[in-house]
Amino acid sequence: MDLVRSLYYLGAFLLIGIGFYAVLGKKNLIKVIMGLSLIDNGINLLFIAIGYVRHHTAPIITSQISDTSLMVDPVPQALVLTAIVIELSVLALALALAVKVFAVHKTLNLNKIKGLKW
């Protein structure tokens, strides 16, 4: 497989893989949430890479650029706008829960919190 052409895919999957590693392997609650954030980042990059078309322009009509047949796919961009916002709200809720768990147990270590072992 020619690696150069799928460099963006590779980058996206690297982020997703690192994120999975953090979610599964890390013992700190906030690190786990950071892993989730990295996974979402990778997915956003993946979507945009799918929508990209070589030598096409951004899907915005201006006075200079008005040829809509030479624009990249707008749909993945719209999806990513949605996904970014969803990610933010999940993240905020997760951090609030982590803060509360810390307030009870005075630790962020998963192994020391009985209800959180998985």
Binding site: V4, L7, Y8, L10, G11, L14, L15, I18, G19, Y21, A22, K26, K27, N28, I30, K31, I33, M34, G35, S37, L38, N41, N44, L45, I48, A49, G51, Y52, H56, T57, A58, P59, I60, M71, V72, Q77, V80, L81, I84, V85, E87, L88, L91, A92, L95, A96, A98, V99, F102, T107, L108, N109
Partner: protein
């Protein structure tokens, strides 16, 4: 564009690895913001200025701020 994007992707992955590896959670939040910032640049290179703006303002700025606030309310260093 090829070399530039390869360089950016490399830096982004390294930053992500360090963000997961480091014991300092504030540092990790900042590195995470850096990853978001680079992916915003990548979005711009991939002809997605809308998403780049959203990622830069939401992913890089606000998420980092929220992470840092949460870390401030808990504990800065990851223990064994």
């Amino acid at each position: 564009m090829g070399i530039l994007s390869a360089f950016l992707i490399l830096i982004m992955s390294v930053a992500a690895v360090f963000a997961v590896h480091t014991k300092d959670l504030i540092g990790a939040s900042l590195l995470l913001g850096f990853v978001s910032l680079i992916s915003a640049i990548l979005f711009y290179l991939l002809q997605a200025p809308d998403v780049a703006m959203a990622e830069a303002s939401i992913g890089a700025a606000l998420t980092t701020a929220i992470f840092i606030m949460a870390v401030k309310k808990t504990k800065r260093f990851e223990d064994e």
